[in-house]
């Protein structure tokens, strides 16, 4: 294959990466973790772009680093397939649907938010979103807090955040340092 063909096939690959992630981005509600099975289905099972091991490595990296898991996973898969260009195409595909839908909603919402029917909808939906978050605290707490010590640290951090109004970044830094102090030594 000469160089021209190579560039052409690279571009085609990048384009199909974009399409796959656009599709996943457009049809996944409820954030990152809901996307993972869909990404795995497309990337590992259907298209065989990555092996299952590579994909699992990618999820591990995505979860370890800051940032939305959908953004990180898209970046990882795109890079593995097609370098930095591929990662940008995957990312663009993954976030374009939410970008466009929020943009449209923002344009209308900022104009109509004071309508009574809109406000009443939120009066009903707001307590439900709080219930959703409390429910997430229980689920994530159950799986993340395995030891008594972790539970106590959580309560202390919660106190710092709510009553002393400590910056969330400080809470993150404190718990990272505690992780190093209490963690396994090599």
């Amino acid at each position: 294959m000469d160089k021209k063909d190579n560039i052409k096939s690279k571009f085609e690959l990048a384009l199909s990466i974009f399409t796959v992630f656009f599709k996943i981005g457009a049809f996944t509600w409820g954030g990152g973790y809901a996307m993972l099975p869909l990404i795995k289905n497309e990337v590992v099972e259907k298209r065989k772009w990555l092996t299952s091991e590579d994909f699992i490595d990618g999820i591990a990296v995505s979860q370890s680093l800051p940032g939305p898991i959908a953004v990180n996973t898209a970046t990882y898969v795109g890079y593995k397939l097609c370098g930095t260009f591929g990662s940008l195409m995957a990312l663009a595909g993954a976030i374009l649907p939410s970008f466009v839908s929020i943009l449209i909603i923002a344009m209308f919402f900022l104009r109509f938010r004071n309508l009574k029917v809109v406000q009443d909808f939120f009066k009903g939906a707001n307590p439900a979103i709080i219930a959703l978050i409390v429910s997430a605290v229980i689920d994530i707490g159950k799986s993340a807090l395995k030891r008594y010590r972790e539970f106590v640290i959580t309560l202390i951090l919660l106190f710092l955040l709510i009553y002393l109004r400590v910056h969330p970044i400080l809470a993150i830094v404190i718990s990272a340092i505690l992780g190093i102090i209490f963690g396994e030594k090599r």
């Binding site: 996944t28 954030g31 990152g32 490595d57 990296v61 979860q63 370890s64 680093l65 800051p66 940032g67 939305p68 898991i69 959908a70 953004v71 990882y76 990312l91 976030i95 649907p97 939410s98 970008f99 929020i102 943009l103 909603i105 923002a106 900022l110 909808f121 939120f122 009066k123 009903g124 939906a125 707001n126 307590p127 439900a128 979103i129 709080i130 219930a131 959703l132 978050i133 409390v134 429910s135 997430a136 994530i140 993340a144 807090l145 972790e150 539970f151 959580t154 951090l157 969330p168 970044i169 993150i172 718990s175 990272a176 505690l178 992780g179 190093i180 209490f182 963690g183 396994e184 090599r186």
Partner: protein, 174 residues
């Protein structure tokens, strides 16, 4: 100048967005609501609800919304790009050193250490959404408790629960 401020605010949020989803709400609230006053508490709550009802990660949705409110379409583009920028750069760096990164004892200890912070951040998000006007009277409290019971006992899609609660709101506040 406001676009630069927008860029810095969301780049900072992206850089510290550990734990995904709800765990980043306190970061957004601190910067965007308390420090920069770009959203009121009430608007923040509405953005969280809208994020849940539309596709995509909350961080992206909030960035796009706040960016549009502050600086129009250009603002929404800058905010969305800047919230992604730190994670993308970090992923691209780490992929090159993958094996060493995964088995690094420091990385593992820090990640384990972050677990309590993620739980505390999400819990504090729930607390401040209640304080910020999410539940102000008895009808709201009843909707909240009913939603919670439904979420914990039935396998109902959270989005469906939100929409039903919204419709109930329209009907009972008529």
């Amino acid at each position: 100048m406001i676009l630069l401020r927008l860029f810095l605010a969301f780049a900072q949020i992206g850089l510290f967005a550990f734990g995904g989803g709800y765990a980043i709400l306190p970061l957004i609230e601190k910067e965007i609501v308390n420090n920069l006053h770009w959203l009121t508490h009430k608007e923040f709550l509405e953005v969280v609800t809208i994020s849940q009802l539309t596709p995509g990660p909350i961080a992206i949705n909030a960035a796009t919304f706040v960016g549009y409110k502050v600086g129009g379409v250009i603002g929404s583009f800058i905010a969305t790009v800047s919230v992604c920028l730190p994670p993308v750069i970090l992923v691209l760096i780490v992929v090159r050193f993958l094996k060493r990164f995964e088995t690094n004892i420091w990385v593992n200890n820090v990640l384990k250490g972050l677990r309590p912070a993620v739980v505390a951040l999400i819990a504090s998000a729930a607390y401040s959404l209640v304080r910020g006007g999410g539940i102000t009277e008895i009808k709201g409290l009843i909707i909240g408790i009913a939603s919670f019971i439904i979420l914990r006992t039935r396998k109902l899609d959270p989005i469906l629960v939100l929409i039903i609660a919204g419709i109930v709101g329209i009907l009972i506040y008529l």
